[in-house]
């Protein structure tokens, strides 16, 4: 249902983009006749509603259409638009999506444990120099634009100390360790971008609970401060933390556009930017739809995990 609403918004928004594929591909010197011819060939002259339902019914069957660039190419050779040897949108997106998910996975594997650990530590040593230093540094990381962080990391970790390559051009069949090394810089950039929020939420959620009677009880049982926080506060603080983690994981997939472009990482973000440039609408729509689906899926997972983490919901009276 949510996805359906989203699909409408995507379609309207994408179609509101100025210019279309025909104008973009033919450039400034295009004659009106040529533009009309291409539009007719690709079905761009049909009204928006018809095109929307064609797209939607296709999408429901897992067929996200054919990139306009491919369709045009095929058309020139007399093949039908849905010819068998034509690369479809799905074909184009899948490898890119895999790469993006790999990048997101690496970033999450670094940032989530880091953020939760730092959150617990800052809650434990709250209002100390350590707490303040962590807050200042993570906040500055989140406040700087990603491309800036990316270039700073390139400067220090690739140029001055050549530990990681500055270009992350990975391709299929690459060895895992090689792949990991090449992905490291964009992953670190993303980590810096998402850690602050998760850490601060963990800290706030824990501190919020420290005034509750059961925490007082735990302290009066003579437990160590670390145990009080990890064993007694953290389990009850999980629900808000999980929600924030889910939001940030979604950002790792959908917010990678800038980072992928900077590092020339062949992910879905880069594909997205390229397709917008040439107004390749089926690809743009498909990317948007995937981004939306990732958001919804992760939030759903977060809700389910929150329920599992809460014994009140798991064991009703």
């Amino acid at each position: 249902m949510t996805l359906f609403v989203v699909s409408v918004i995507i379609f309207v928004a994408v179609n509101a983009l100025p210019g279309d594929f025909a104008e973009a591909i033919l450039g400034q010197g295009a004659t009106p006749e040529a533009v009309t011819a291409i539009r007719e060939q690709l079905g761009l002259n049909q009204n928006a509603l018809t095109r929307y339902f064609q797209w939607l019914s296709g999408a429901l069957r897992g067929d996200l259409g054919v990139p306009l660039s491919q369709a045009l190419f095929a058309g020139n050779f007399g093949a039908t638009a849905v010819g068998t040897d034509v690369t479809t949108v799905v074909d184009q997106i899948i490898p890119r999506l895999k790469n993006t998910l790999f990048l997101a996975g690496v970033s999450a594997a670094i940032s989530v444990p880091l953020a939760v650990t730092l959150g617990v530590l800052t809650a434990l040593y709250r209002n100390t120099a350590f707490d303040k230093a962590m807050n200042v540094s993570t906040l500055s990381a989140i406040s700087s634009p990603e491309f800036f962080i990316a270039y700073v990391l390139i400067l220090f970790l690739a140029v001055l100390n050549p530990i990681f390559p500055s270009l992350s051009n990975i391709f299929p069949g690459m060895e895992f360790s090689e792949r990991l090394t090449r992905t490291m810089l964009p992953a670190l950039t993303l980590t810096l971008a998402v850690t602050a929020q998760m850490m601060r939420m963990t800290r706030a959620a824990i501190i919020n609970l420290l005034a509750s009677p059961y925490i007082e009880m735990a302290r009066l049982k003579g437990l160590s401060p670390m145990r009080v926080i990890v064993k007694h506060a953290l389990p009850n603080a999980l629900a808000p933390i999980i929600t924030v983690i889910a939001l940030n994981l979604a950002f790792l997939v959908t917010g990678v556009v800038v980072v992928e472009v900077v590092f020339v990482y062949p992910g879905i973000g880069q594909l997205f930017v390229d397709s917008v440039k040439i107004r390749d609408i089926p690809v743009v729509q498909a990317c948007c739809l995937i981004f939306a689906a990732v958001y919804i899926l992760l939030n759903l997972t977060a809700d389910i995990l929150s329920i599992i983490s809460n014994p009140r919901l798991r064991h009703p009276k």
Partner: protein
């Protein structure tokens, strides 16, 4: 005589408000020998809990011990390091909190929390401690002792949690336990079970205890000696019997006297007159479960009907049906002989205006961001249509009626008032609509006895002046005795007995009414013993309830 187990000398504690430190406890001394129980009593704000926590070397945030010493078995807890204190806490000194429901961690099973102390303090292994926990649960007469520990706190009732918490405090066999109002949140019938359990176990293990409460009758059952506190100062200390029979100080005497307030009986209702409110055969449900079964009673003009029963007996649900918040499934409500629409959204302004409510928690029932004038002015404008000067005059008149000086209180925020004053504002807000009938839902149960008495007197005065009718929901039988004309006893959503107050407090009773009445603690220190003997020691609490 040997050195006492706990020796507090010249203890001063300060609390911070608005950047300055203000004294909360002013130089209190306390001695407690092994196996002895001391009762700390006083109104809220007297510093009972603060002393209780301080005797563990612990202060809450924003509170500090400024001077004095708390020596437990030779160790001064004020100067001891955090690690030294942790070694004692839970192991040799344990704490039982007021609300067990809030003090058990909702994320862990009871037994895991029970064994945590012994395991962390290396007193015993998890297995041994679990066995011991089951044994303690058995001694505390918890139902299904083998099984109950493996539930989460939300799956266990309040009275059972309170006992489980006492068991948890006992887990390391401490020398001293601090009981901080352990039965205040419980019904009278449950309170008895918990009191008896606590006393047994304290005697069995020869544990010393500090028992904090504002209920004199409770402390009379529990303590060997009593210390009375007022605003951080010690008023007097004496052994329990002396304190009860010959209190020296005026303040102590005034505390003792509170329980004697009782308004004179009113003439009985003229038969045949139309009641102000009539509840007719009401059955109501939450979802598909019926929670009220065929409830009927009348409330006549100028009279107070007390609705009594334990929590979950359907008292507040009945109120929700009358106000239309929960439309009954069967039956109906009559007002002055006219049938009211069941749903409040279908009632007109006049019908809404006639019935007003005063709530238990004055704290949460007042909008913290509105001044008192705005809070009371809102219904004045809504129901009476008064504006500007007229509205202000009406608000002032209402404040006069609840005995608060208008010029002083009109522009204050709720946070600048005491609990009793907030409850008075709640009354003024209800009066603002000029109703004929007010539902008072546990209006005094969150208040100290002296303050509660003031509220009850005010309500009685307003009733005489304005001819109001009250439905007074309470679980406290002392309040019933003080204010009501008629009593309705409820249990499990049914009315088990109803009638004039005078009749209700005379035998013969319905067995449940009898249980309720006999469970109200009395000031006699032998009361609990006698009662237990009468009911048969093995037959208290659950068993007594089951019989019905």
């Amino acid at each position: 005589m040997s050195e006492p187990l706990l020796k507090i000398r010249n203890l001063w504690i300060e609390g911070r408000s608005d950047e300055t430190w203000n004294p909360i406890i002013n130089g209190v001394d306390l001695d407690l020998n092994k196996g002895e129980v001391i009762g700390l009593i006083g109104e809220s704000g007297a510093g009972k809990s603060t002393i209780g926590l301080a005797s563990m070397g612990f202060t809450r945030d924003g509170v500090r011990i400024s001077q004095g010493s708390v020596v437990f078995d030779g160790v001064d807890l004020v100067t001891a390091s955090a690690a030294d204190k942790r070694a004692l806490l839970g192991k040799r000194i344990a704490y039982v909190a007021q609300s067990a429901a809030a003090s058990f961690n909702p994320a862990h099973k009871l037994m895991d929390q029970h064994t945590e102390g012994p395991v962390q303090h290396s007193v015993s292994s998890k297995g041994e401690s679990t066995e011991d926990g089951i044994e303690l649960y058995r001694r505390l007469r918890l139902p299904n002792p083998e099984e109950i520990g493996f539930r989460y706190p939300h799956q266990v009732s309040g009275g059972q949690l309170q006992r489980a918490m006492t068991a948890m405090a006992m887990a390391c066999r401490p020398d001293l336990i601090i009981f901080d109002e352990p039965t205040t949140a419980l019904d009278v019938t449950t309170q008895i079970e918990v009191l008896a359990s606590i006393r047994d176990i304290v005697e069995q293990f020869d544990t010393a205890a500090i028992y904090i409460t504002h209920d004199l009758a409770v402390v009379a059952q529990m303590a060997d000696k009593i210390k009375v506190l007022l605003k951080g100062d010690e008023v007097e200390e004496a052994d329990t019997r002396t304190m009860l029979s010959q209190p020296k100080e005026e303040y102590t005497k005034s505390l003792w006297a509170v329980r004697s307030f009782e308004r004179p009986a009113k003439p009985s209702v003229i038969t045949g007159s139309t009641p102000v409110v009539s509840v007719k055969n009401v059955t109501a449900a939450y979802g598909t479960t019926d929670v009220l079964h065929d409830v009927s009673f009348d409330i006549h003009e100028g009279r107070t009907v007390a609705v009594v029963g334990e929590s979950g007996s359907g008292k507040s649900t009945t109120a929700r049906c009358i106000t239309g918040l929960l439309p009954p499934r069967l039956g109906h409500i009559e007002f002055d002989g006219m049938q009211l629409p069941l749903d409040y959204r279908k009632r007109d302004k006049m019908q809404l205006r006639q019935a007003q409510m005063i709530y238990q928690m004055a704290d949460t029932a007042l909008n913290p961001r509105k001044t008192i004038g705005e809070t009371i002015g809102r219904p004045v404008e809504f129901y009476l249509g008064l504006k500007g000067k007229e509205k202000r005059a009406k608000v002032d008149a209402l404040l006069d009626e609840i005995e608060l000086e208008p010029s002083q209180y009109r522009d204050r925020l709720p946070s600048e008032l005491s609990g009793g004053q907030k409850q008075r504002i709640g009354i003024a807000r209800a009066l603002a609509a000029e109703p004929k009938f007010i539902i008072c839902d546990e209006v005094t149960s969150a208040l100290d006895q002296l303050v509660a008495e003031g509220i009850l007197k005010l309500l009685a005065k307003l009733q005489d002046q304005l001819g109001l009718s009250y439905m007074f929901i309470t679980h406290d039988l002392a309040t019933v005795r003080a204010i009501s004309d008629e009593v309705v006893v409820m249990k499990d959503g049914k009315v088990v007995e109803q009638g004039e107050k005078a009749e209700m407090f005379q035998p013969p009773h319905h067995p449940y009414t009898d249980l309720l009445l006999s469970s109200v603690p009395e000031m006699d220190p032998d009361w609990l013993d006698d009662l237990l003997k009468e009911r048969g020691v093995d037959n208290i609490g659950d068993a007594a309830v089951d019989k019905m």
